[in-house]
Amino acid sequence: MRYAMAIDTKKCVGCSDCVVACQIENNVPVGYCRDWVTETVHGSYPNLELELRSERCNHCDNAPCVRCCPTGASYIAEGGIVLVEGDKCIGCGACIESCPYDARFSHPEGYVDKCTFCIHRVRKGQEPACVSACPTHCMYFGDLDDPASDISRVLKNRKYKVLAPEAGTKPQVYYLV
């Protein structure tokens, strides 16, 4: 099993529903977020290109945040989901420094927090909160090892990219382009 996410930049409108849905579902304190949306504009008027991307922890296959954690608080759970166990975390910040995507943050209570791929929902057979809220249906979540899953199909049929592949982290959030 290898959970992954694919996000269709051709459909994403940058509305940030994924962000607010995550904040509410996961009790993310106001002022913090586990996912965020970026906008990139290239060119000059009127020859322009725009890309909107909903970003979060990439649940990297080769996760430096897990490697550098001195207590084992950061670990890899089923399906490659990278998690943080709050009461093992000393808040040293090593994992935050190690993530090329700035996907982690220090929760006001001291431990490190980040996207969990909504494992609590996934275990119940539901989709992550952001995926199930996205009004444009531009997010896909599922098991890459299952060739029949939506995500496997969409990655088979579409061109995609990952973020900062040169960082060598083998990210598992794919962007359809």
Binding site: V13, V20, V30, C33, L50, P135
Partner: protein, 743 residues
């Protein structure tokens, strides 16, 4: 001199709000535990439909085992949302948790010559309202009371005001929003567009957006269907001077010069007729005035339009052909907020005509025939016949207006040359007039002249600062409301019911309206103890019940007629000719151009830029700019400036500037510059709804600038009274302007 109705920014209003204070939000945060596997497992779900905008998505409010509201998600069975709310709907719970909410009635008092609000009991506040309404009726007649309303609460106060004897009822959704489109469409097809728009985007092959910025305009079902259309490879053509989100998803983006759309539309009609791309059978069978139209657009070539719009003739032809080849599965979107330049009804007509030529009205992938449930009205006595109504406030202008015009109603509240004003009292609910209505000086002058003004709102918005009495409504999470009956592909009903008891002393609008009615001796118009009785009665008339709806939230009913026109089906349109009027008999009769024409509009003078505005997907007008969840996504608007302009002015990204419009009005607050290629060099752009000046809005106060405040010269649409709001020109003030000391 202190005016009688000082705008109260800071006031005794504090105490109540403060007492409840920060608590709510902290609660949200406090539950956090180390367990990433979300602690809450015991949920109950209660049906609702969303009130953050007028799309009215049905959803479920989730409460935890302690009855605390934790989230709201879409109802899978609802065609408005298909189980997914938009960010504003998802963040809607912030409206319930906002610690700045109005929680007790407030009455205006004078203390040491300073005006302030004092908390009052409902009994006292309602007493003051009833007493003043009686006074107005006795002194000037009940017609002198005007109701400004928007949203769900409007229904109950409309009932109250009609029972009281006034027909002066207005909503900003007409003269500031979709009025021109409805009139243009009705003149053409004999029927208005309505809401939600019956655009069959899901199945379309070509979607043409003229200004309509779907994706930023987050009207949920449309956004979802546009995404589906992208998936299906539909062609999207976007006409917008700004590189909108929709433009970025389009096969063709036509970066039009602002205010010139009519020329483009006429050129498209020209190409479609000349290259015979139109739906011949449809045009022949259903339309009236084709030859006159053909004659009319004869000279309106793409080359002609190029000189006006800046759009290459090649692009005009190519896009026209694209529409032609997709027809009738094509939608030239009627838009929604269409009060732009004062000739908006004519632009809407041109759009309607284009659709008629393409045969998209009543066709799959074009416009479907929507249907709604016919719900019987709960029996109440006949309303008294008012001696005059909103029509009188138009003074013979705007003959095709179908409802009151807000600015005309405001005008009618201002005494003129020895003549007393017609309107003496205002009842306002669910509309934040200062940030909604153009021409604020006129609005303030009118308010100063009033005998009495009462405002019902959930938040201490600007409009409440002008009121004599402020009545706190509870939020949509805390009340029953009318059943949602809006039309769709299939008729549906949706229920809103409370998921929690009203906070503080806030109350539902139906209760407020009923209390006032009783005090005025009009109790017979509210013949129920609880609004639930009305819902149950109505539901039983259509074979359902409140109990059923409390479980299901939404219910689908059978259609009574087909969704689309059948091949060559005889069909009578509700126009004077029974046909789709390409040539409008009605307009001709009223002396308006029966075929639309392009007329030039003023252009910004040197060093001035056209003020363009629009929506951010995470906010609704001014109502969400204090919402804790949504301000977390965006807490102020910024001013989009083209890099060329920024260079001329030496502006840097993030720099704060003030804006001054052509009439010398200066923005109350600075706005941060965003230097971006997405805007033209002749315009600037900002999201509408920011620049709040009421300090009680702890998050929104002073954040960003208000477009409304700068729109002081609305251009009236002579046909129906719409207020064209895009003719505002602004220049930059790089330093804080010295302001007159507040008296």
């Amino acid at each position: 001199m202190a005016s009688r109705r000082d705008f109260i920014k800071i006031s005794a209003l504090g105490i109540g709000g403060m007492a409840l204070g920060a608590g709510a939000l902290k609660l949200l945060a406090e539950d956090s535990t180390f367990d990433p596997f979300s602690p809450i497992t015991q949920f109950s779900r209660i049906p609702t439909y969303c009130e953050v905008c007028f799309w009215k998505c049905a959803g479920w409010t989730y409460t935890d085992d302690k009855g605390k509201i934790v989230k709201v998600i879409g109802n899978d069975e609802d065609p408005h949302c298909n189980g997914r709310l938009c960010p504003r709907g998802t963040g809607g719970i912030g409206m319930y948790y906002d610690e700045d909410r109005l929680l007790t009635p407030l009455v205006r008092v004078s203390e040491n010559g300073k005006q302030t609000f004092r908390q009052a009991s409902w009994e006292e506040a309602l007493g003051i309202v009833a007493e003043n309404l009686k006074k107005i009726a006795d002194k000037y007649g009940p017609e002198s009371l005007a109701l400004f309303k928007h949203g769900s609460s409007g229904h109950y106060f409309e009932q109250l005001v009609k029972a009281y004897g006034s027909g002066n009822i207005v909503s900003p959704s007409y003269a500031q929003c979709r009025g021109p489109r409805e009139v243009g469409w009705k003149a053409t097809f004999g029927t208005t567009v309505g809401s939600p728009e019956p655009t069959d985007i899901r199945d379309t092959r070509c979607l043409v957006l003229i200004g309509s910025h779907i994706g930023e305009n987050m009207h949920n079902g449309q956004v979802q269907e546009m995404s589906e259309a992208i998936d299906r490879g539909a062609d999207i053509i976007t006409v917008d001077p700004r590189y909108s989100t929709a433009a970025s998803k389009s096969r063709h983006w036509l970066p039009i010069k602002p205010a010139t759309d009519l020329a483009l539309l006429l050129a498209w009609i020209h190409v479609i007729i000349n290259e015979e791309l139109y739906d011949k059978g449809y045009v022949e069978q259903y339309t009236f005035g084709f030859d006159r139209l053909k004659q009319h657009v004869r000279r309106m070539t793409p080359e002609w339009a190029y000189g006006i719009t800046g759009i290459q003739p090649k692009a005009i032809r190519e896009t026209a052909r694209l529409m032609g080849s997709a027809a009738p599965s094509v939608i030239v979107h009627p838009g929604r907020h269409v009060t732009w330049y004062g000739d908006d009804t004519q632009r809407s007509r041109a759009i309607a005509i284009l659709n008629a030529l393409l045969g998209s009205w009543g066709r799959r992938g074009g416009f479907y025939f929507d249907e709604s449930v016919r719900l019987p009205e709960f029996p109440i006595p006949e309303f008294p016949e008012p001696k005059w109504d909103w029509r009188a406030t138009l003074d013979g202008r705007f003959p095709l207006a179908a409802t009151g015009i807000s600015n005309a109603m405001i005008e009618a509240s201002i005494p003129k040359e020895g003549k007393d004003s017609r309107i003496k009292g205002w009842f306002v609910s669910g509309t934040n007039l200062p940030l909604t209505i153009p021409n604020r000086p006129q609005l303030e002058e009118a308010i100063q002249a009033l005998d009495f003004m009462v405002v019902v709102d959930t938040m201490p918005m600007e409009v409440t600062g002008y009121a004599d009495v402020v009545l706190p409504e509870c939020t949509y999470f805390e009340r029953y409301d009318e059943l949602r009956t809006s039309p769709h592909r299939e008729p549906y009903l949706a229920l809103r019911m409370p998921a929690a008891a009203p906070k503080g002393d806030s109350k539902p609008a139906w209760w407020i309206a009923k209390q006032i009615a009783e005090k005025l001796g009009l109790g017979s118009y509210f013949p129920y103890e609880d609004f639930k009785e009305v819902l149950d009665w109505q539901l039983k008339q259509v074979g359902s019940s409140l109990e059923e709806m409390q479980k299901a939230g939404v219910k689908q009913f059978e259609r009574r007629s087909p969704l689309y026109l059948k091949e060559n089906e005889p069909f009578t349109f509700r126009t004077s000719t029974g046909k789709i009027e390409l040539y409008s008999k009605e307009f001709e009769q009223y002396g308006f151009a029966p075929l639309p024409n392009y007329t030039p509009h003023p252009e910004p003078p040197d060093n001035y830029y056209r003020l363009n505005y629009g929506r951010a997907p995470m906010h609704t007008f001014s109502r969400t700019s204090n919402n804790p969840n949504l301000t977390d996504l965006m807490d102020e608007n910024d001013l989009w400036v083209n890099p060329k302009v920024a260079r001329i002015w030496g502006m840097k990204n993030g720099q704060e500037v003030w804006l001054r419009n052509q009439d010398g009005v200066i923005s109350s607050f600075p706005i941060k510059v965003r230097i971006t290629e997405r805007i033209r060099w002749d315009s600037v752009y900002m999201v509408h709804g920011f620049g709040h000046n009421n300090k009680k809005l702890s998050r929104a106060f002073g954040k960003g600038a208000s477009d409304s405040e700068l729109i002081t010269n609305p251009v009236p649409d002579p046909i129906m009274g719409g207020t064209g709001m895009r003719g505002t020109f602004v220049t930059f003030l790089l330093e804080e302007p010295i302001k007159a000391v507040e008296s």
